[in-house]
Amino acid sequence: MTKSISELEEIARKCRVEIVKMVHRAQAGHPGGSLSEIDLLAALYATRLRVRPDEPKWGDRDRFILSKGHASPGMYSILAEMGFISHEDLKSYRVLGGVCQGHVDMKWCPGVDFSAGSLGMGLSFGMGCATAARLDQSDRRAFVMIGDGEMQEGSVWEAAMAAAHHELGNLKVILDRNRIQNDDFCEAQMRMFDIPAKWRAFGWNVKEINGHDMTEIMEGLDFLEAPENCNGPSILIAHTIKGAGISYMENNPSFHGAAPNDEQFHQAMIELGEVEV
């Protein structure tokens, strides 16, 4: 699972293209959070997760739970890149009967470990997966990606407290800290103050990185896997940009849950290097 930084960046670029295509085709969906998370997902899937695309239900696989389940185009794009689903499957996003349901769904899509879409649930589910792994005396891990707005759900903190209490060293969280939620900037909706301090106070190992710098992302994933951080749960706080990679979507709350029009789509393809100017 060795990949160079430039190879990872190219995977992420290809995923960005698919993300924009999916939401443009469906004229619905969540591009902003998909684009903020995608560098992290690309590195995680391409270099860390012990999974088998040809055997998605392999019992001893690492689990990956996208708790911010609305940011599904990001996950579908990396699942296609890894071979869990085909690129043709991506056209089923938000289409009746499609494997790519609006929010990631374990009943519909190979490689999806949890049916998310309701915020504040994935960390608890991941804790269950991690607890089961420990009972099985397996070295499989549970990785959970949560959003920053999601941390406003009280249940996240029930899980944070419980995971630390049970010293679940096989539970790894990545926080997509993109600073924007549905209605507006997080700062306007509900200030979260010192996020690293909050997780430390709950008993977690904490590291902050730039979630768009592949070198820092790899260091961050090293941190999550480091034996000295397997004494309890760990969280990687990845500072990201909502809509990263598409100029007019970046830091723009309007593109949390809106699709680009044809003109915007064309511009995005130019910015992603798919279309020559």
């Binding site: 470990d113 049916s115 309701s118 589910f125 804790m127 269950g128 089961a132 419980a162 209490h165």
Partner: protein, 311 residues
Amino acid sequence: MTRMAATRDGYGQALLDLGGNEKVVVLEADLGKSTKSLHFRKAYPNRTISCGIGEQNMLLVGAGMAASGYIPFASTFAIFTERAFEQMRNGVARPNLAVHLCGSHGGTHTGTDGSSAQSIEDLAIFRTLPNVVVMHPCDDVSTRVLTMQLPALGKPSYMRTARNKTPVLYDGREDEIKIGKGIVLKQGSDVAIIACGVLVSESLKAAEALESEGIHATVVDMHTLKPIDGELIDNVATQCGALVTAEDHNVIGGLGSAVAEHIVANTYAPLEMVGVPDRFGESGQADEMLEVMKISAKYIALAAKKAISRK
């Protein structure tokens, strides 16, 4: 002398009996002493997961474990299961993960803690969830037997148990008890009383009183509310021509509603519903609460006569 026991004790005993299955795990939210999962905890501490006072997290830890091959039994008070309703809906029922949730201290029969602890809507809300089996057994034996059947169910369930003791009806009759199959406890021809939980024994008392007046009542223990035993409802509706439902639960959405939903589309018979009259409870002894809520044997008998008069 009839043996008296609480259904929650049957649940606790069943968990202990299931402990030999290495896949069975118990999840607690600081009420193991009350729901009776404590016996399992004592015997199998490594397979008991404390979730603290955090029901929402508990349900989804269960979901994660079910998705990893375990058979989780999570319990708390019936009223607090409701706090995790959306977790049960989105994280358990929707992906059809076999998490077994038990809500103890259900109904106004719970008594002196008062209205904050008397869940009167749990059966209704969980009944609305696709994939979820909903049960409310009437004695410790049937609670134990039904709980023992859950590992083979392969889908999620909600079971309400009660805090206080009720008469034991099934000693030596364990083989008759199966999830989804109502049980005829007394055969009559004038009216059929379909009851669940603590009102099953009240219904038997009512039937006895009716008998002294020459009215022959059938009594059914409908321990499983979903899937409801429609075949049995059709049979007793045909035989008796009048129905009564009896439950320690809001008349809206519980057993009465389940029976009504069935008969309007199948075998029709006049139906009188005995249940909590869409109001909250208060502090009182269990038997006093049945009178306050007008759901005791006396009111079941009155309802039976009314149902018969509507034939």
